[in-house]
Each structure stands twice: as structure tokens, then as C-alpha cells.
């Protein structure tokens, strides 16, 4: 079985601060990490490898420094890593990104393509499903569990109010939640060897793609404006019994003409 996992390097948003003057993210000095949902997807692939001896390839599109998450992937136990990097990819929105990734995926053998549901820097959840469309493959998003049965997979998909059990033919694209499973730690020997292994560098010439569909030129998304949400004022805490609490709530709602 061949599994390709698409991952992304993202700023650790738990450490991120907003520039109060411009309202934009301060990216300097913020550590970069493997996107948590992608890590969940990678763990799912590695568990299939543990069970069935799958061959796991990891691919990321990003600047040269995205090499770091591929070394981490090696140290977790993947077999092959590819860094899709080219100045022509710069400024890509989700459509241009999925075009580039789908073109790269066409150069690989796969029974399953796994990726995270969404990246914590953009939160769009679009790239996975778009890749599936470009490749004309079945897709299941919000996956939390998976049973591989050769010609098809049984997937547990999380929905707002429960779960769906779905069957999909392989090859297919699955987008996975970080909560699906706790990702394994890198092993010491994996870390020792991670830098002796080759990260394959692929640029535009390596993949068969219409360059007009890449980067800024291939990105229909335009940011109209961005703003920082105003912080809500501190709430007021009342430590009272239920009856009194109801009274307070009703009077507050009336004050605001809600009821």
C-alpha cells in the first residue's frame, strides 16, 4: 500500500501575537510547527504502516525552511519526503495550492491520500477537498478513524452532532482531524538519522502543470480587508442561587431590549 500525506508548516498560533498598530499577525520569532491536523493525518498513515507495512510518502509545498517538518516526519518514521518549492508558487491561495499539490500527486503512486482537515493559519479546510476534485477522486473530510480493507476504506467522519460511518473506494482523499489520534513522538534514532536522509526538492519543472494556475496569478482570492476582533469586555460574575440568577438574566436581557 502506498500512502501520500500532504502536510503544511504553520506558525504556532498558540504563541502568536497581534501587532496592535496594524492589526496583523507578528510572525517574527514565532516558532513554526507541523500543522496539527496534518500531524493527525500523518499518524493515521503511520498506524496503517505499522499494521500493513505501507509505504508512507510525505509532501509539503512551502519555502525551503519547510524542510524542518519533513525532517520531523522522517524522525516519526516516514519513508520518503518531498518538498515542493518554487518562487512561482508564492502567494498561492487554496486553489493555486491545490493545483500545484494535485499536479505533484499525479507523479506519485498512491492508494490513499491523507491530509489534515485544515491548517491553523488559514482555517479554510479547502485544500484537501480541492485536491480530490482536481484528481477526480472520492473524498471524505473530518475523518477521525479509518479501517483499510484494500479496495475500499471504512471511515468514521465527525459531524456537528455525531458521526457518520462511510465507505469509500480507494484511491481516495481523506482529511483528518488532529483529535483522531495522538501523534507519536519522534524516536531518538529517527532524529539521529533524519538529517542523513534525502528530502527530494521538486520545483515547477518537475510537475506537469499550467503555470498560470499557480501562485498569485492562479489565485482568484482577494483579501478585501482584515481586522482584529475587538475584545469583549470582562464579564460579570454573580454567585447566586438559580431563582435569583433567572431574575438577573431576565433583567439584563430586557435592558438590551432582547426580550
Amino acid at each position: 500500500m502506498n500512502i501520500v500525506v500532504c502536510i503544511k508548516q504553520v506558525p504556532d498560533t498558540t504563541e502568536i501575537k497581534i501587532n496592535p498598530a496594524t492589526g496583523t499577525l507578528i510572525r517574527e520569532g514565532v516558532p513554526s510547527i507541523m500543522n496539527p491536523d496534518d500531524k493527525g493525518g500523518l499518524e493515521m498513515a503511520l498506524r496503517l504502516k505499522d499494521l500493513y507495512g505501507a509505504n508512507v510518502t510525505v509532501i509539503t509545498m512551502g519555502p525551503p525552511q519547510a524542510d524542518a517538518i519533513l525532517r520531523e516526519a522522517f524522525a516519526m518514521g516516514v519513508d520518503r519526503t518531498i518538498l515542493l518549492t518554487d518562487r512561482k508558487f508564492a502567494g498561492a491561495d487554496t486553489l493555486a495550492t491545490s493545483n500545484a499539490l494535485a499536479a505533484a500527486l499525479k507523479c506519485l503512486d498512491y492508494d490513499l491520500i491523507i491530509t489534515g482537515r485544515q491548517a491553523i493559519d488559514g482555517d479554510t479546510a479547502q485544500v484537501g477537498p480541492q485536491m480530490a476534485e482536481h484528481l477526480d477522486l472520492p473524498q471524505v473530510s473530518y475523518v477521525v478513524d479509518l479501517k483499510y480493507e484494500g479496495r475500499h476504506v471504512i471511515v468514521k467522519k465527525e459531524t456537528e452532532d455525531g458521526y457518520q460511518m462511510l465507505e469509500a473506494e480507494t484511491p481516495c482523499v481523506l482529511t483528518v482531524l488532529a483529535s483522531a489520534n495522538q501523534a507519536r513522538y519522534m524516536t531518538v534514532s529517527g532524529i539521529m538519522e533524519a538529517f542523513d536522509k534525502e528530502v527530494e526538492i521538486w520545483n515547477v519543472s518537475k510537475i506537469n502543470v499550467d503555470e498560470a494556475k499557480l501562485g498569485l496569478a492562479g489565485s482568484p482570492t482577494r483579501v478585501k480587508s482584515s481586522f482584529t476582533k475587538a475584545q469583549k469586555g470582562a464579564g460579570q460574575v454573580y454567585e447566586v442561587d438559580a431563582e435569583e440568577a433567572v431574575g438577573i438574566i431576565i433583567s439584563k436581557l430586557q435592558e438590551k431590549y432582547i426580550i
Binding site: R71, E72, A75, R184, Y185, M186, T187, V188, S189, G190, I191, M192, E193, A194, F195
Partner: protein, 379 residues
């Protein structure tokens, strides 16, 4: 001279800090309170290679450096000194002497299972009447043809009761003094071997510290480690390596107490401002931070020399001496900065202060370290 971390070291730190924070720290208070050996942590550590870091791959190890090993012990001890010493005693005091003195059969038999964490290792030199004066060994080993017969007892043995493999020193010829001491590999379950009373300790309370009893204990002939009569040298050289591990443990304890104190002094308000804003706090903390960093450089330097196969005996003594005394000073002051809260078990600094003390005692007291350092100075 390059003080920067290698790429592997940077990646390792990322992993070990996450592991320590998520898997080790949440158990630390309970492990101390209940005097509980954290077996579940040992299993997790085995899985990711932490029980066999500086062990060649051909013996089932991780092919890591001593430098990375010291970082592991430091980062584990930063959140739980018990976990740190389990790894240190196992690696430095049991795996290392087999690797350095064992024959191929012994290495193939014991190292893979130790390095994977399936087996835990321990080391027995100290006896009731042979502490710092380790040459006064009273445990004896008699050649009985196809086996050795051991009689005597060892005390204060770290990892005992949970270990499967013990490196044991015993007198094979009393008339030869230290040259009559030999080293043996004793397995748990060998006839005549038993684990005695468990010590109730001030600190590192989750670490198992027991007495070992040998009553006509039968040890196979092939379990002599190194040559006959070379046990004292093996023990001393093993302790040289072990001291780098304990120095790393002390360093971790000091760093852990520092982390807690920085956090607390920033949050704690008295006289209308944070106590971190007082110059007394700042100046004292600056001194402590400087000592921690100095201790770290001594540890790094000793580990570097061990990795480069350069003599490191005095370096190991210096890093242990300085790191242990730094740990004691930092943790004592950390409790002081925490005031009344620091004296309670609600905060981890009192545990760290209790844990720090042992680093000035075991694997050679601070006085022994001074003897080793002076020995080199006046040789």
C-alpha cells in the same frame, strides 16, 4: 569552539520537551507523594528510544551521542527528578559498563533488551560499610567451578526491585585489596539473589532504592564482567560516566525550579506590584541563572569529551560538583521566593528542593568530586 546545537540536538530538544511536558510532568507530584516507580513512563520512554540513547545501533540502541543523552536526563529531571535518575542509572551505570567491558556474547545478550527498555538496569557497589571508601567491599564471590557463588549485601541501589540486570562488585581475592575486586552481571531471579528493604527517602521518592541480598547466589561463570580483579577500575570508570548523568539531573532540577520561580515571581503581587519587579528578586535570580548556565556548559563540555573519547574524569567530577551545588542553591532560594506557598506541596519547588539534595550525595559525594578534581591537580 562551537557552542551551537547540532540539528539533531535541536530536533531532539523539541521532542524531549514535549514528551516531558505531556507525559512526565503530570505524574511528578503523584510519583513523589505515593513513592511510586513510574513504570508506565519507562514503557513510553522505551518505545521512543530514551532507554538506550548512547548505544550503538548494532546492539539495538539509538546511535545517539552522550550529549543528547545528557539533554534527555536534564529535560526529564526539569519536570521529574525521579524519572531523570531512572534513565541515568539504567544507562550510565548498567548499559555503559557492559558496553565498555563486556565481551560480544554479553553485549548481545544484555544490551538490546536494556536499550529497548524491555529490561531495566542497575548497579551495586555501595555496602553498609563501603560508601565513599568503596574499596572496603565485603561482598565476596567464590569460584565454584562452573559458577560464581556470591555472598553479602549492597545498599541504596537505584532501580532495584524493578531492574532485571545488576552490575555487582564483589571481592574475588581479599588479599589483593582493590585488585581483588571483580564485576559481575547478576540477573533478577538468579538463585540466592533477593531484593531487601526499600528505603524511605527525602527526595526522588518515586525512584526505587533498596538493599540487595546475596545468599550463596549462583552466578554463571560467563557473567564475570571484564577481567578477574578489574572490578574496582570498572566501577570507578562507570561512576565517571554516571556523574555526567547526575550532573544533568541536577541541572534539570535547577532549571525546573528556575522556570517555576520566574513564573511565580511575575504573578505574585505584594506591596502593589509583582515581586519580580523588586531588585532583590532580579539580582538574586540573575546570579542563579548565571550559575545554571555555567553548570550547563560544564555538563556539555564533559559530555563532549566523553563523545570524543578524550579523558573526562575530572570534567565529570567538576560538572557534577557544580551542578549539584547549583541545584541545591537554586531550589532552596526558589522555595524562599515562593514564601509560605513554596513550603507547601501545592507548588513543586519544595519537591525540587528535596530532590536536589541527593545529587550532592550519590555517585560520589561533593567531597569525593573535590578529591577527584584535586587528584588531577596535584598528580
Amino acid at each position: 569552539m562551537d557552542f551551537s546545537l547540532t540539528k539533531q540536538e535541536e530536533l531532539f530538544l523539541k521532542m524531549i520537551r514535549e514528551f516531558a511536558e505531556k507525559e512526565v510532568k503530570p505524574l511528578a507530584a503523584d510519583v513523589d507523594e505515593e513513592e511510586r516507580f513510574p513504570m508506565e513512563t519507562v514503557e513510553k520512554m522505551g518505545k521512543i528510544g530514551l532507554m538506550g540513547i548512547p548505544v550503538p545501533k548494532q546492539y539495538g540502541g539509538q546511535g545517539g551521542t552522550n550529549q543528547i543523552y545528557t539533554m534527555a536526563v536534564e529535560e526529564l529531571s526539569r519536570v521529574c527528578a525521579t524519572t531523570g535518575v531512572i534513565v541515568s542509572a539504567h544507562t550510565s551505570l548498567c548499559i555503559a559498563p557492559i558496553l565498555e567491558n563486556g565481551n560480544e556474547e554479553q553485549k548481545m545478550k544484555y544490551i538490546p533488551k536494556l536499550a529497548s527498555g524491555e529490561w531495566i538496569g542497575a548497579f551495586g557497589l555501595t555496602e553498609p560499610n563501603a560508601g565513599t571508601d568503596a574499596a572496603m567491599q565485603q561482598t565476596t564471590a567464590v569460584d565454584a567451578g562452573d559458577k560464581w557463588i556470591l555472598n553479602g549485601s549492597k545498599i541504596f541501589i537505584t532501580n532495584s526491585g524493578y531492574a532485571h540486570v545488576y552490575i555487582i562488585m564483589a571481592m574475588t581475592d581479599k588479599s589483593l585489596g582493590t585488585k581483588g575486586i571483580s564485576a559481575f552481571i547478576v540477573e533478577d531471579g538468579m538463585p540466592g539473589f533477593s531484593v531487601g528493604k526499600k528505603e524511605k527517602k527525602m527526595g526522588i521518592r518515586g525512584s526505587a532504592t533498596c538493599e540487595l541480598i546475596f545468599e550463596n547466589c549462583e552466578v554463571p561463570k560467563e557473567n564475570l564482567l571484564g577481567n578477574l580483579g578489574k572490578g574496582f577500575g570498572i566501577a570507578m570508570k562507570t561512576l565517571d560516566g554516571g556523574r555526567i548523568g547526575i550532573a544533568s539531573q541536577a541541572l534539570g532540577i535547577a532549571q525546573g525550579a528556575m522556570d517555576e520561580t520566574v513564573k511565580y515571581t511575575k504573578e505574585r503581587k505584594q506591596f502593589g506590584k509583582s515581586i519580580a519587579s523588586f531588585q532583590n528578586t532580579q539580582f538574586q535570580m540573575a546570579d542563579l541563572e548565571t550559575k545554571i548556565q555555567a553548570a550547563r556548559l560544564l555538563v556539555r563540555s564533559a559530555a563532549y569529551k566523553k563523545d570524543q573519547k578524550l579523558p573526562y574524569s575530572a570534567d565529570a567530577a567538576m560538572c557534577k560538583l557544580f551542578a549539584a551545588e547549583t541545584a541545591m542553591e537554586v531550589t532552596t532560594k526558589a522555595v524562599q521566593f515562593h514564601g509560605g506557598y513554596g513550603y507547601t506541596r501545592e507548588y513543586p519547588v519544595e519537591r525540587m528542593m528535596r530532590d536536589a539534595k541527593i545529587t550532592e550525595i550519590y555517585e560520589g559525594t561533593s567531597e569525593v568530586q573535590r578529591m577527584v578534581i584535586a587528584g588531577k591537580l596535584f598528580k
